[in-house]
């Protein structure tokens, strides 16, 4: 196994790493269909509990709706989410959508609660 051609090829290549997260954030390759952090639009929600029944990791909890527009409404504990996108798939009104945001690290667990 001769390494010489590989060495020469790499000599004239651009660097492979990027200076994430401080610079060059836009260079992170994110495919179109990435299953990232989920976004919830309460206006569209009809409170059907389909997301609650299909979530495998108990991310979704149904609570009483303060506005009384719908019987129950979901809240999402994103620290438990496994990004399977099952809730997005079953949602009849497209109130739940997976975004391309993959930067979910934080210091406080409570901040991951999505209402």
């Amino acid at each position: 196994m001769s390494m010489t051609p590989e060495v020469y090829r790499n000599l004239f290549k651009k660097r492979a790493t990027i200076l994430y997260p401080f610079k060059e954030r836009e260079l992170v390759p994110v495919p179109k269909g990435l299953r990232g952090k989920l976004a919830f639009n309460l206006e569209r929600c009809i409170g059907c509990s389909m997301c609650f029944r299909s979530c495998p990791s108990e991310t979704v909890e149904m609570i009483d709706d303060e506005t009384k527009k719908r019987p129950k409404r979901p809240i999402f504990y994103l620290d438990r989410c496994t990004f399977c996108a099952q809730c997005e798939e079953v949602c009849p009104t497209r109130a739940i959508e997976m975004t391309l945001n993959f930067e979910l690290a934080g210091f406080d667990r409570k901040q991951t609660l999505l209402k």
């Binding site: 390759p29 029944r53 299909s54 495998p56 990791s57 990004f83 399977c84 996108a85 099952q86 798939e89």
Partner: protein, 393 residues
């Protein structure tokens, strides 16, 4: 006086990444006896599956094994589909094969890299893991995630392969084929690899059958056995491919089988992309399957994967059982690690032979019952004890 003594490796050991215990009796440099004790990693997936409905169980089955997650989800989904006795659309079956073979390419390339690392040939490891990124990116493009694909669903698949993705897949396959052919040349010519692989970890065809080895381990002993050809599932009945075997019955054979299987998988992906029929990608099935039992088999990258389901007519399975491929290979592993009259196993060969079956201990581990006849001791965790222990934590 006997000069042999025992070396105990694991369950916690710096050289062993998974919690499993091995006891090797050695005489000088030779391993004369090997014993394996399993049961350290109890994940409780089967029990958990009984508490979730069929849809919630799909991501759970994916987490049995990270690397061969596609094999487990295909196995689970077709198992439940057998309960309904419904056919799924042909296009969905083709997409299942595409993603399954991409997963096989990724798993085999990963394994060859790991082997390079185990034999002290880290250049090969670095090269392979770099080229593996090509297939990881394709999986991410197709499914939305690098490893956990979440593409399967009961009744079909969740995402379609568009013409744009198909084009990128074809391009990726060309790169991977060129690289894999190069690695084929490397593994068959490179002296430093051959010296650690030829004649190491011998498993004769008779022993392989006796210990019911599965997957590439079995095929490297010259036995033609592959679920994809023996009992075709998904679209494998239409897709032509060769069952790769090798007659050397050692580590070298296992490497060659996996490299050739990668090339076969690349060809299968190409065939699927060319011949894929149009049409829907899933059929909608009701949430509760009818009462019944079913068994499904899938050829995972590591070997034959078997799932069993028992449905009682509710939306949750009454019993779910998984036989991961590594369990089939463990008994053969003990045979490979035992010296015989005409075959010596050295201590330095242990990591290489161990890596040879592509072990995924945590996939196959279940709770174990221990019986020690010498001390008349028999012990098993009961459900109450486990619950109490969990509460204390």
């Amino acid at each position: 006086m006997s000069s042999s003594f025992s070396i105990i490796v694991g369950p916690q050991h710096p050289a062993l990444k998974e919690p499993e215990s091995f006891k090797f009796t050695v005489d000088g440099e030779n391993v004369v006896k090997a014993e394996v004790r399993i049961g350290y990693a109890h994940k409780g997936i089967e029990k958990l599956a009984e508490t979730k409905n069929y849809i919630q169980n799909i991501p759970l089955m994916e987490r049995i094994c990270g690397i061969c997650n596609v094999a487990h989800t295909i196995c689970y989904c077709q198992n439940v589909e057998y309960l309904y006795e419904k056919e799924i659309p042909r296009r969905a079956e083709y997409i299942r094969v595409v993603i399954e073979e991409l997963n096989r390419i990724h798993s085999h390339l990963l394994w060859i890299g790991v082997l390079g690392h185990e034999v002290g040939f880290d250049t090969l490891f670095m090269y392979l893991w770099r080229d593996r990124e090509v297939v990881m990116d394709l999986i991410e493009l197709l499914t939305g995630n690098r490893v956990s694909t979440a593409l399967m669903t009961i009744g079909g698949v969740r995402r379609d392969i568009t013409s744009e993705i198909a084009q990128k897949l074809r391009k990726g396959m060309d790169i991977l084929e060129e690289r894999t052919r190069y690695y084929k040349k490397v593994v068959t010519d490179e002296r430093s690899l051959l010296q650690r692989a030829v004649g190491v970890g011998r498993l004769t065809p008779a022993e392989a059958i006796k210990h019911s080895a599965v997957g590439p381990t079995l095929r490297a002993s010259g036995i033609r056995s592959d679920v994809r050809s023996d009992d075709p599932y998904a679209a494998h009945d239409e897709i032509p491919f060769n069952v790769i075997t090798h007659g050397s019955c050692d580590m070298f054979g296992r490497v060659v089988v996996r490299v050739d299987e990668t090339i076969e998988a690349i060809n299968q992906v190409r065939y699927c992309l060319d011949q894929m029929p149009d049409g829907p990608i899933r059929t909608r099935l009701p949430n509760t399957p009818p009462r019944g039992e079913s068994v499904s088999r899938v050829e995972a990258p590591r070997g034959e994967d078997i799932h069993y389901v028992k449905s009682n007519g509710t939306d949750k399975p009454e019993r779910y059982k998984v036989r991961a491929p590594t369990l089939g290979n463990l008994s053969a592993l003990v045979e490979m690690l035992t010296s015989k009259e005409d075959y010596q196993v050295h201590i330095a060969d242990i990591p290489v032979v161990l890596a040879g079956i592509d072990p995924c201990m945590c996939c196959m581990d279940r709770t174990a019952r221990f019986v020690e006849p010498s001390r008349e001791k028999e012990w098993i965790w009961t459900w109450e004890q486990l619950k109490k222990y969990t509460e204390r934590m």
